[in-house]
Amino acid sequence: MKLTLRVWRQRDADAEGAMSTYEVDGISSDMSFLEMLDVLNEQLILAGEDPVAFDHDCREGICGACSLVINGDAHGPERTTTCQLHMRSFKDGDTIDIEPWRAAAFPVIRDLVVDRSAFDRIIQAGGYITAPTGSAPEAHATPVPKPDADFAFEHAECIGCGACVAACPNGAAMLFTSAKVNHLGVLPQGAPERETRVLDMVAQMDEEGFGGCTLAGECATACPKGIPLVSITSMNKEWLRATRKVAKR
């Protein structure tokens, strides 16, 4: 098929960006969306133009690197990552708009590549269980009820791609933060740091300049791993509980 692409081009963080229009031909419906962009880039390189910069790595939907807003949807029309989106979701002759994640906390580095290090700093603020190597007790010493283990897993599935932030009208990182808070908070191993974790991570999230939650629900709709909106509710509860407990100490 033949497609018209309107792609956000921006030289660096300080430059003004704008949409540029390109045509690509000979696209097969079996191609992934990124393979379609590969075709465009090969074309651009041979024409002596700068190829479109975009983040990608595993191309199997798990590393969380790919990050495109396609026709206004984070990761495009299917509920998956950009790399797992296939061209069969489009028709011959379509015009496709491709933009980067847009949020103050995710400044553009170039074209479609943004800086998501704010997510790393949220994890650094408390998204871990302190368990220095060698200090671990026997794994079966603490059984974890299966429902809790499943709950933890469901939230641990977050790939940190940032689609939640990109889709949120407020550029909020609540879904990302809540996923980690819930994953670690429900486990017995995470209990000792349960209060400080949620308080510190939320504080860091605010510090990074993410917006607040208005429960629009866009984050959960965009999440390729299906982290549910109610995850935010659970974090709110954790946060209130922690605030009360810490105040009593």
Partner: protein, 223 residues
């Protein structure tokens, strides 16, 4: 603890949820009281007078009412200031818009901010109109709320302002109640449908109950 709450986006959202629920509780009571207008001037005015005597003889005349007013003012101010600060944060967090725009979220969700501003302005007008009488059409008669209400809703603009505001209220409550439940951590997957249903019913009852009064005046049922 107060500092932690006020400094955090999650904490400020809690302030909004709690103040919102206080106002919501008040509105339910207010709406039920309003419906007394359909039972004639005597009963309505008597009810209005009783409001000032709640708690007697323990409380002095109008003390309880003032107490409620103070709580409400605190709630309104807390709600509005939090909303303003959070909105500013939200807008700063998303400085550039997508070129490819898509309609997002539900109508009720998207109209929370403008709806809130409309409601804020309405409250000012409503108090100046029917509490102080400052902007009342015709002669405001303290102690005769039935007549005052009929006067207000006998003007076209009185009806329009009120009905628009009550529609905004319905939308605001629809998203606001459910949202407050999430903010306070009361939501869950199993409870979600029930919470949404309660939000819808509350929104519908409040809007219908409040709008019944101007409609009653317009149709001559109340005169």
């Amino acid at each position: 603890m107060a500092r932690t709450v006020w400094d955090s986006s999650v904490g400020k959202k809690t302030v909004m949820a709690v103040s919102g629920l206080i106002m919501l509780l008040y509105l339910v009571v207010h709406m039920i009281g309003n419906l007394k207008i359909f039972f004639g001037a005597g009963e309505f005015n008597h009810y209005a007078h009783w409001l000032r005597t709640i708690g007697e003889p323990f409380m002095h005349y109008e003390w309880t009412l003032w107490l409620i007013r103070v709580v409400l003012v605190v709630a309104v101010v807390a709600h509005a200031v939090s909303a303003y600060q959070l909105s500013r944060r939200d807008i700063r967090a998303r400085p550039s818009k997508y070129v490819h725009k898509k309609p997002r979220a539900t109508y009720a969700t998207r109209t929370m901010r403008w709806g809130g501003i409309i409601l804020g302005l309405f409250i000012v007008w409503h108090i100046l109109d029917l509490t102080t009488g400052t902007v009342h059409s015709g002669g405001f008669q303290p102690g005769h709320p039935y007549q005052n209400v009929v006067d207000t809703f006998s003007t076209w603009y009185g009806d329009v302002i009120y009905i628009v505001a009550m529609l905004a209220l319905g939308l605001h409550v629809r998203h606001g109640f459910w949202s407050a439940a999430q903010t306070l951590g009361a939501g869950s997957r199993s409870r979600d449908r029930a919470l949404k249903a309660v939000a819808n019913v509350l929104a519908l009852l409040l809007t219908a109950g409040f709008i019944a009064v101007p409609v009653g005046v317009m149709t001559g049922v109340v005169s």
